[in-house]
Structures are given as C-alpha cells and as structure tokens.
C-alpha cells in the first residue's frame, strides 16, 4: 500500500451529485465522493460503467449535466463545473494532471521528450532554456527514462515509456491531483509493474493525490487506498481497498472480484 492519507486536511476534491447524461443514456449518475491530500482512490468497473465519463467530468473535459466538483485550488475552494474555460484550462495546466489511456492523446508525438515535459513550464512563463532542460532531465530520471533520450521523439519510445513521459509532463508543475485513465491498459505486465512502482514512489514522495480509473483489480489493490465500484453509471459500493476486494458485499462487486483469474 502506498503512503498514508492525512486525515486532518480538508478534502482536496469533493464531487457532489455529479451526473452526466448523453441524451437518454446515463454516463454517470449521482456520484458523490471526497479525496484527501495524499490519498489514492480507485474507480473500478467494467467497460461502460461510466468511470471514464466521471473522470472526464472531474477534469473539466466534459461538461456534466448536474452536480458540482469542488476543488481546493490555490485560489480557494471553487466549483470546477461553474468555472469559465480560461480558468479551467489554467487549472488543468498547473494544479491538476491528466494521464490519458492512449499516450498519443496526451503527448505531442512530433515534439521531443524534453519539449513535452517543458511545455507546461513554458506555458506558465518560464523563459530560460537551460533551466527548462535541467528540470526536464530531472523528471526523466524520476520516471526512470534514460535522460540521454531527452531529445528523442515519443514515437521512438515503447508504450510504457510513453506513459511515464506523460506522467512526467504532468507532474512538472507539481499538481495537487493526478487523474489517470487506465494508465496500465495495453502494457505488458513487466512494463506495468515498473509503471506502478514509479507511481507508488511518486505518491509517497510527493504526497500526491490521485484518482485512478482502472478495470484491473490487482492494480487497484496495489495503488489505491479506497475504491469505488461503478456499474451502469452508478457507484454501487465503496470502501477501503482491501475491504472491497477481500469482503465484497454487493452482488456486482462479488462478481467482479470472483471473475479475476489468478495465475
């Protein structure tokens, strides 16, 4: 298990009655949860459960139909759903990070690794090339990418490296919350293990908070303090990770846990 959440702080993120409908189709419905500093929560469920929709609403990529997403930002406690686009974009560049499932959506494939990491710094006004480069090198090391590859294009990286590059490019502004959409999907298991290891170290070193969407329960157990189980757009069970996985009480949770093959 990674790190220890601080029970004394105000919730960093508070999602209240969040719903997203696509016409009649329910994306997610009446979602409520809180995230404290240093906490990693997992949102698990199968395809179509609404977990990615939920994440996109929190990130401000999708406008929810109802509800609020309160974020304890540097400018105070604000509702992201009521923020204007300029403010949202600024927050998503500095105070939150979003790692997409497919690196192609989260990186500029035609820009070098260093450029990808440096972009947020430059967007926030950093104008010293050497300083940008130094910071980029440091982050490459942190996510275990060979610093000699700073000028290489992400196209030349393996899937796992691309994901780690995405993480570095997001963490460079030291965001309070990282949102991750299935970061380990499609990766070979050994690559996955490395990515998880890197993430766990980052969470404990940086006291990072994370919302991790995954359908992989093993990843959820390793990474997350608490889990929310979603089905058909609703949260059907939530609690401590080991409690949910060792003592699943709702029918769907039991089905999910029992379906996992153990080698």
């Amino acid at each position: 298990m990674t790190g220890m959440p601080d029970k004394n702080n105000l919730p960093l993120l508070k999602v209240q009655n969040l719903s997203k409908f696509f016409g009649k189709h329910i994306g997610c419905y009446d979602i409520n949860f809180e995230l404290s500093p240093g906490e990693v929560i997992g949102v698990v469920g199968e395809s179509g459960s609404g977990k990615s929709t939920l994440l996109n609403c929190i990130a401000g990529k999708t406008q929810p139909t109802n509800g609020a997403v309160f974020f304890n930002s540097s400018d105070g406690y604000i509702d992201l759903c009521m923020s204007d686009e300029a403010q949202l974009r600024k927050i998503s560049r500095t105070q939150t990070g979003f790692v997409t499932q497919n690196s192609r959506d989260g990186l500029r494939m035609g820009i070098s690794a260093g450029g990808n990491i440096g972009e947020r710094l430059m967007a926030n006004g950093m104008r010293n090339y050497s300083q940008i480069r130094k910071i980029a090198l440091k982050w490459l090391e942190t996510v275990e990418i060979d610093p000699a590859r700073i000028d290489d294009l992400p196209e030349t990286f393996s899937g796992g490296m691309q994901q780690r590059l995405q993480i570095a490019a997001n963490l460079v502004t030291e965001p309070k919350i990282m949102l991750m959409d299935e970061p380990t999907s499609g990766l070979d298991v050994s690559v996955q293990a490395r990515l998880i290891d890197v993430l766990r170290k980052l969470v404990s070193r940086l006291n990072l908070s994370m919302v991790l969407v995954t359908h992989d329960l093993a990843v959820a157990r390793l990474m997350c303090h608490r889990l929310y189980v979603m089905k058909n757009g609703k949260i059907i069970e939530s609690g401590l990770s080991d409690q949910i996985l060792d003592d699943p009480r709702k029918p769907y949770t039991q089905l999910l846990v029992s379906s996992v093959l153990k080698p």
Partner: protein
C-alpha cells in the same frame, strides 16, 4: 477591346467589407481577422491576399511600389504593378520614400518607412502555431486565452536540435504584449523594423482568408529565451555593389566553381547607395 474594370478591380462592396476587416485588425493588433476573400485573377500562392488589401485601400492619388524578395523588377512584382496600373491607372514607383502604399512579398525595405505610409505584406500561412497545433479550434483558444506555451516549445526544439533558434524567416513575434503573430516569411533581420514603426502594416493571406495588422508605434517583440536571445543575421562581407554593411544581403552563386557574391536584397536601396543618393 478595352476592359472595363472597377477602380482597382474589386467592386466597391467588397472593398468596404475588406476595409471593415482591416479596421478590426488595426483595433486588435496581431489578431487574425477572418474575411470573405474574393476570387482574384490569379491563383492562391501568388499574393491574392496582399492584392485584395491593396485594392481595398488604393486611391487615385496613391503611389504604389511593389517588391518581391526586395526586388522591384522580378516577374511577380512587375505583374502586380501592371495589374494595378491597368485597373486603377495610379502612379507607380520604385522609390521607397516616394511610395504611399508598398506591397511586398518576403521583405521590408531597408529605407525606414515614415508616417502616412502603408505597407501590405503577402502571407502564405497566417497562423504561427500551425505546425505545432494543427487543430484550428485549439489555436483559436490558445490565442484567446494567451496560451502560448506551444510556441515556445517550437523554439525550444530548435535549440535542442541545432543549438540555437534556427528559424531564419517568419520568426514569430508578440504584438502589443498580447497576440503572437507570424510576420510573414520576411527574414528575421527585418523583425526589428516592425517595432515602433511610424507606418501602418497590413498582412493578408488569400488562401487562408485572414487579415491582421500592426498599427503605427506598436511594440513588436521577437520571441526568445533569456539565455538564447534573439539575434540578427550577419555577413562577413559587405554588398559587392554598394558596399553596405547594414542591409540584408542575398548570396548569389556566380559560377560552377562556387564563387559567390553578396548583394543587397533591396534593389532600390542598393541602387541609391551606389549612386551616392541619400535615402
């Protein structure tokens, strides 16, 4: 058979539409204003944007100079001059100081412009972020929210690849501390001329249908990094014809052994200097 054209080819309504766009462009320095580009008697890529701008503002008392890569007598410059002589019967000149309107492709004249002059630039690609961010919806937002990180990323990439900012022309500038603009493919040598100039600068892209402008006495700053500041080009030799060391020089290969000459790109400037005439 004589051709009966409206003055300067375009109909008056079209001219009014373009002028309205130009006023908007002046009001928001460096911002690309879309306009309803008209069908012109030459294809895209040959200066239709610039020509529409010139046509919209040309008056009977104007004197027009047209240059292409600094030269008054290339085919394109001559063609455009002839076009306006035929359709508007206005005076034309090669002298920078005598012109009221200067239409240019890829250079700003060496002779400093004065108050009351208008310079019209032909622009192929108006969007400076085009090659980093191809989605137009995204670039519109980036300009609107002043999110120019990606522009600096491009310069960063240059330094990472070449050790210095390799962009030699169409070097991005920030206008009036707000919008980032492509100054058209002029050499970076010409960028400083835009800063606090007494003349009006208009930029027209015919294919992309965008007009933008830099009003007189506006701050125009070339982008750079603190530790890689903006630098002008320099040459080891003066102009072979007039001896100038303060103008942009073209490099001309004169024979198969690789003998080369450096000659002022601005032909009028070079001629005046050789004749010993002040500019």
């Amino acid at each position: 058979m004589s051709h009966q054209y409206n003055f300067a080819y375009l109909d008056e309504q079209s001219k009014k539409m373009i002028r309205r766009t130009m006023l908007k462009a002046i009001a928001i320095p460096g911002f690309q204003v879309p306009f309803g580009g008209r069908e012109m008697p030459l294809p895209y890529g040959w200066g239709t944007g610039g020509i529409q701008l010139t046509a919209a503002i040309l008056g009977k008392t104007d004197t027009l100079k047209v240059i292409d890569q600094g030269s008054d007598d290339t085919v394109n410059a001559i063609s455009i001059k002839t076009f306006f002589k035929t359709t508007a019967d206005i005076a034309v000149t090669e002298s920078t100081k005598d012109a009221t309107i200067i239409q240019t492709r890829h250079r700003i004249p060496e002779t400093p412009l004065r108050k009351g002059q208008i310079i019209v630039f032909q622009v192929p690609i108006p969007e400076p972020l085009q090659f980093i961010e191809p989605r137009r919806r995204e670039t519109a937002k980036m300009h609107a929210y002043q999110e120019y990180g990606a522009m600096y990323v491009k310069l960063y990439e240059d330094i990472a690849t070449y050790g210095r900012i390799a962009t030699a022309f169409d070097y991005p500038v920030q206008v009036n501390h707000r919008y980032i603009m492509s100054p058209s493919p002029i050499p970076k040598y010409d960028n400083p001329k835009l800063n606090q100039s007494p003349a009006i600068h208009f930029f027209g892209a015919g294919r992309e249908k965008r007009i933008y402008a830099v009003p007189p006495f506006t701050d125009v700053k070339s982008l750079d990094f603190e530790d890689h500041p903006f630098e002008l080009e320099s040459w080891n030799e003066p102009c072979s014809i007039c001896g100038s060391t303060i103008s942009f020089l073209d490099e001309i290969i004169t024979d198969d052994e690789g003998t080369r000459l450096f000659i002022c790109s601005d032909t009028e400037y070079c001629q005046k200097r050789s004749q010993g005439v002040g500019s």
